[in-house]
Amino acid sequence: MHDRQRTPRKRVFAVNSSPDFLLIVREVLADEGYAVTTSDFAPNVFTRIVMRHPDALMIDVAPEESVGWDLLRGLHLELQMSDIPVLVTSTSPTLLENARDEATRYGTHRSFLTKPPDLDELVRTIREMVGDA
């Protein structure tokens, strides 16, 4: 079996409004040995992220939904959290471009993935983000 069984599992925290997407992400990443926590856009999600302090974050940005943007901004401002690698997902290429521009303006490194995603690419990206590549 993999060495990951003997070492602490890397933690991934995924935020998305779609329960289906979260379930799929959980199944795919858990199968790769990651400890996955998921959440919708609940008001306390930022607190949960801070308490969990994951190794990688997946945050969705959607049309007419501000929570994802608030999280990205909050993570940038929270010093203890600003070093956590973030994968930004969206169904909208336009919103991903906006997120890319914002990351550039903040000087933060982010990864980006359009939905529906290539899930093999999602796994590869998460591996790179947590240093498992």
């Binding site: 289906d20 799929i24 943007w69 909208s92 290429p93 991903l96 359009t114 939905k115 899930l119 690419e121």
Partner: protein, 139 residues
């Protein structure tokens, strides 16, 4: 406020993005479930190689249909996709290179009734103007 000061959430977006979001969201579920199904089929010890091949080919047609539907969705509105669309759609389109020969079908047609229903609903709600709904117009 200058445009460069706007946050991502505050920038105006194409009103059709809402429609694209509504169409891409169920495709994300379909594609994701197909991925998990393929994984289960590959690992199922009780399947014969013939059964496994046939089931994986079926899943591949679902993935192909999802990829084709994404192309259709990106074409909503009639304008060619900008560079950003091409770049971000790449992951999905690359899926086709993993498919066995002949697996790429025209299954997108099966999704069109659903898409047309969504477009019609968006027009009824005033989200988009009929002139923007290329799906409802013959070529």
């Amino acid at each position: 406020m200058h445009a460069e000061d706007e946050t991502g959430a505050e920038r105006p977006i194409d009103p059709l993005d809402r429609l694209r979001h509504d169409l891409r969201t169920p495709l994300t579920t379909i594609g994701g479930r197909a991925y998990l199904l393929a994984r289960a089929v590959r690992r199922a010890p009780s399947l014969s190689e013939d059964e496994r091949t046939r089931l994986l080919a079926s899943v591949a047609t679902i993935e192909a249909a999802v990829a084709e539907m994404v192309v259709v969705i990106d074409g909503i509105g009639g304008s060619p996709p900008p560079e950003a669309h091409k770049r971000h759609s790449r992951g999905v389109i690359l899926n086709q290179s993993r498919l066995p020969p002949g697996a790429v079908t025209h299954r997108a047609n099966e999704f069109l009734p659903v898409a047309i229903h969504r477009v019609a609903g968006s027009i009824a709600m005033g989200t988009i103007h009929p002139s923007q709904a290329r799906l409802l117009r013959p070529d």
